[in-house]
């Protein structure tokens, strides 16, 4: 099937999902409100923290807000596209995963298009609001080049975090567990990136740059945009963010397909 056909199919599949979600309007609004409140809560925590201390690892409150908003924005898109991957174990255990194998389209694509979480518009609203606020406070000059770079690094961030979700889900092919790995590994680790990585021990920084490249989701790109230094790392390493995203996601996809082959061979 051609790429265009896949696009067409993706939108058909998700629009059905969106319509279903909009049926429960109260729940829908509550979730968006809830998401915005809890992100505002993290931002408020940062504000209180810096109320006395002014700086965290030479990052000011507004710079940290910007860093946080980049993470929230890419995470929002990531939820829309990939968040349901963490629950692959449930599909496998219930036997409902098999329906993704009997259709004449790529199972990865089919599983991905199964869900489209509109409630993540909360992330979208929150981070756009923060971008506007912080741009005024820090007098950021949004040239075309900078805007484009922000956009590309958000794509990079989506691919990195999405890739990790895909890898975590692939674990289910081997261990029949995946959801738990998300909550005990990725969820807390993602929290680390809400703060500038420079404050962590060197080994942790190194790990988040080159093993699980969370650093490229927000820290490195934000450092480029805000012209901040990134000690221990080459200057402007953030420009590699989109590339890191593509490579990491490709690896994740490969692992997923490998797991899928294994799943078939067990023939459950």
């Amino acid at each position: 099937m051609s790429v265009l056909k896949y696009f067409d199919l993706y939108f058909k599949l998700i629009s059905a999902g969106v319509r279903a979600q909009l049926q429960y309007r109260f729940a829908f609004v509550m979730r968006i409100v809830g998401l915005i409140t809890s992100y505002t809560g993290t931002a408020a925590t940062m504000w209180i923290m810096l109320y006395q201390f002014q700086e965290l690892g030479s990052w000011t409150f507004y710079e940290m807000l910007f860093l946080f908003a980049v993470a929230v924005l890419s995470w929002g898109f990531c939820i829309i596209l990939f968040f349901h991957f963490r629950g692959l174990d449930t599909y496998i255990l219930n036997g409902t995963f098999d329906r993704f194998l009997v259709r004449p389209i790529n199972p990865f694509f089919h599983f991905m298009a199964m869900k489209f979480d509109v409630a993540s518009f909360g992330q979208f609203i929150f981070s756009i609001g923060i971008f506007i606020w912080v741009s005024f406070e820090l007098h950021l000059d949004w040239t075309v080049g900078k805007s484009l770079f922000l956009l590309l690094s958000v794509v990079g961030g989506i691919l990195i975090q999405g890739g990790l979700l895909v890898m975590i889900s692939a674990l289910a092919f081997w261990t029949t567990k995946s959801e738990q790995f998300y909550w005990v590994a990725m969820f807390p680790a993602r929290n680390l990136t809400n703060y500038p990585l420079v404050i962590y021990p060197k080994a942790v920084q190194w790990f988040t740059a080159f093993v699980v490249p969370f650093g490229f989701v927000n820290y490195f790109p934000a450092a480029v945009l805000l012209e901040k230094e990134t000690p221990f790392f080459p200057e402007n390493i953030g420009y590699f963010s989109p590339l890191v995203g593509i490579v990491f996601f490709a690896v994740a996809y490969y692992i997923w397909m490998l797991g899928l082959k294994r799943y078939k061979s067990t023939g459950s």
């Binding site: 509550m30 209180i48 923290m49 109320y51 006395q52 590994a185 929290n191 942790v204």
Partner: protein, 267 residues
């Protein structure tokens, strides 16, 4: 009539069941340590070589955050909120209503069991090592230790009652997502679990001192590092006891209304 032996069986059962789900224990500890790493690094960077801030030395602050993460491990080891809500949603809770025990107490005693298992097998060994090898300040007198343990226990009860009351809201609301988020945010911030209240802006500190959340983390932590001492400790324990009673009444109230609702709906 309170039948201790009946509820004690729930404690024992939960203890034994935790032993079966060992993967859960280790993974929970892993995430607890990541958060410890995060807050430890944040406070190290905030102090940035300063000896003291807000009248508290760097070692004491680091101790505060380590104790706080230990307590959040303790508080997080019981029945999670979503499990109660799931039981409400699926109607499983009605089965428990038919049995001859009190549901809020039954979960509390079960939590004692799983928490005890988690403390003994994971938290204590690890945090003991940390206290030996890191430059942290320990209370010098055994009275402070005892008061800390009492205070932490009352804090646990406050947290349990408030969280359970919130969980039971799902009896009345179809969707609690937003409210739960606000609740967790308020609890994590106003309890002083990550930022001690003395670093708050004045108005917010005042607000936090009028709320029950400070009894969960702030008071026990502050006792441990010696920020509050002497008669002040007794006053703080009094405040905690007051909130424990108040939140218990809240839980009773919510539970009575909730269980009536189940009867009306016919389970």
């Amino acid at each position: 009539m309170f039948r201790f032996r009946l509820y004690w069986t729930f404690t024992k059962k939960a203890f034994l069941r935790s032993a079966v789900y060992r993967f859960d224990v280790w993974s929970r500890l892993g995430s607890n340590l990541i958060f410890l790493l995060m807050w430890g690094s944040i406070w190290t960077a905030l102090y940035a070589g300063r000896e003291e801030a807000g009248g508290v030395s760097f070692e004491s602050m680091l101790t505060y955050i380590v104790v706080s993460q230990f307590l959040s491990g303790v508080n997080g080891a019981g029945t999670p909120l979503w499990e109660i809500q799931e039981k409400v949603r699926t109607g499983d809770i009605s089965l428990e209503l038919m049995r001859p025990f009190d549901v809020p107490l039954r979960y509390l005693f079960a939590d004692f069991g799983s928490v005890a298992f988690y403390i003994l097998t994971a938290l204590l060994p690890l945090y003991t090592v940390m206290f030996i090898f890191m430059d942290l300040t320990l209370p010098s007198s055994w009275e402070t230790w005892a008061l800390f343990i009492v205070s932490a226990f009352i804090g646990f009860l406050i947290r349990y009652c408030i969280e359970m009351s919130f969980g039971l809201l799902s009896f009345f609301l179809v969707e609690t997502g937003g409210i739960v988020d606000v609740f967790y945010f308020a609890m994590s911030l106003l309890s002083g679990s990550v930022i001690p209240l003395w670093f708050f802006p004045g108005w917010l500190e005042k607000m936090a001192l009028y709320l029950p959340f400070q009894g969960i983390y702030y008071i026990p932590n502050a006792i441990f590092i010696g920020k509050i001492s002497g008669a002040e400790i007794l006053l703080s324990l009094g405040v905690q006891l007051f909130w424990a009673a108040a939140s218990y009444l809240l839980l009773r109230f919510v539970w009575n209304r909730a269980s009536q609702k189940v009867v009306v709906q016919g389970g």
